[in-house]
């Protein structure tokens, strides 16, 4: 496997790989996003209890899932960057962080917008809400830490270390709904049990989740390409690229 992975440690190869993948990923993400959201927002039946306002789950749930998914991706990348010192992976940690921060912010904002009509309040200090807020702070900490050093590489390494330390928050968020019986409802979709959500609502939701995942990969490609160009700006291949 290492023989197969080896060429991808070279920034130039990754740059071109991302360039090739990006249009496909972006296209698929936009298509699925439009499909999932229009289906979910306009064509699913209203909930018997919540009426039409439940439709925000088509934004809220995918972004909440991806706020944690993106963090685990970032932490795995950070671990690889620390152990094997692969430069491209190091840059990808910093490339992922802002995407995850935005997903977390979307999850929090849509959750607040849903909480106002349903719970009657914008914010409660509930376990899951609080730990999601901590997740946002962790993302911001990683971003701020990477920019605080005069040496860019030290910043990237230290930020990776913080990302690995922050993994401790992921199980807390995930199980918070089960450990503390609070206002936020439990999961409606699980792998092991029959989902407690009607199939007519489930399918557009699953499409939206997939769309958010692919969108993350597409944005990562864009940001990683920029990061590679910035970090390798004095290399001949970048100069040749700019010369064209």
């Amino acid at each position: 496997m290492f023989k197969w992975l080896h060429p991808y440690a070279k920034p130039e190869t990754v740059y071109h790989l991302c360039g090739r993948l990006m249009p496909w990923l972006m296209g698929a993400a936009l298509l699925l996003l439009l499909l999932g959201n229009i289906w979910g927002l306009a064509f699913t039946p209203p909930d018997y209890q919540q009426g039409d306002s439940y439709r925000i789950i088509h934004l809220h749930v995918p972004s909440a899932i991806m706020s944690m998914g993106t963090y685990s991706a970032m932490a795995i990348a950070a671990f690889i960057a620390l152990v094997w010192q692969v430069k491209v992976v190091q840059w990808s940690v910093l490339a992922i962080a802002p995407i995850g921060a935005v997903y977390t912010a979307i999850a929090l904002i849509t959750g607040m917008a849903w909480g106002k009509p349903m719970w009657g309040t914008w914010w409660v200090w509930d376990a899951r809400l609080t730990s999601e807020l901590i997740l946002l702070f962790l993302y911001l900490g990683v971003i701020a830490l990477s920019g605080a050093f005069s040496d860019r590489q030290t910043g990237a390494k230290v930020a990776s270390l913080l990302a690995v330390v922050g993994v401790i928050n992921l199980p807390i968020i995930h199980f918070s709904v089960e450990w503390w019986n609070t206002l936020h409802q439990g999961a409606s979709i699980t792998k092991f049990a029959k989902p407690s959500i009607d199939p007519s609502m489930l399918w557009p939701l699953l499409i939206s989740i997939l769309a958010f995942k692919i969108l993350m990969l597409a944005l990562l490609c864009v940001r990683l390409r920029t990061a590679i160009l910035v970090n390798e700006q004095h290399r001949p291949w970048v100069k040749a690229l700019a010369g064209d």
Binding site: G141, A144, V158, L162
Partner: protein
């Protein structure tokens, strides 16, 4: 492990000579606590209700205040660099730092807790809970602040960044500590919260020193 003694002796001697390093956070703790009755009003029942949160937030802030200078001098005068370059394991240095940090910032808070209990009108059961949470919680505060200090030691703007990094990590501790004190004030059992705090402390004790040594190495290279 063999060399813990000399490092600890050095840390304690440094603390004895630079008294401001540990006196200021302790004074800060008392001043913050005495601001709350002035801010929210001196009503004794109100003070008893808000005491758990107030005490813990003041403790967090005072530990944070001490954290900033933790590695700064050793980094500037090259001690950290020499230790990384030498073949001595860095772990002994880190453990001595941790122990000295707890002795100089955590322990004074524990010793001051009777005074705090008097100031904020805390009754006896809550005071015992407060003492226990401080005993279990302040070592964890030291661990996390040493980690934050090691991460930001060579950063240009360390101070405010340090707060941004470690305050989120303090939050679980804050939640369980104030939950334990709240349960005690209502005469409910709070062993569960204490057990969780002990678990967090042991978990951090196993992993944080390793993270601190690698953070120091990154900052030196």
């Amino acid at each position: 492990m063999v060399t813990l003694g000399p490092f600890l002796k050095r840390e304690l001697r440094l603390l004895a000579r630079q008294k401001a390093d540990w006196l200021n956070p302790v004074l800060f703790f008392i001043i913050v606590l005495s601001l709350f009755p002035l801010g929210v009003g001196p009503e004794p029942n109100l003070l008893r209700i808000i005491a758990p949160g107030v005490i813990w937030i003041a403790a967090l802030l005072s530990v944070l205040l001490a954290a900033e200078r933790l590695f700064k001098d050793d980094y500037r005068n090259g001690v950290v660099e020499q230790l990384v370059a030498s073949r001595q394991p860095l772990l002994a240095f880190v453990l001595a730092k941790l122990l000295a940090n707890w002795l100089s910032t955590g322990l004074p808070l524990v010793l001051l807790s009777p005074l705090v209990a008097l100031l904020l009108n805390v009754d006896m059961p809550s005071f015992i809970a407060m003492l226990l949470t401080l005993l279990l919680g302040t070592p964890l505060l030291s661990l996390l602040s040493v980690l934050g200090a090691a991460l930001t030691v060579s950063a240009d703007k360390g101070g405010i960044l340090l707060a941004l990094l470690i305050l989120p990590l303090y939050i679980p501790l804050l939640i369980f500590a104030s939950a334990a004190m709240e349960a005690a004030s209502m005469a409910l059992p709070y062993h569960g919260q204490l057990a969780v705090m002990l678990a967090m402390l042991l978990f951090a004790l196993a992993l944080v020193p390793v993270a601190v040594t690698s953070a120091l190495k990154i900052n030196v290279s």
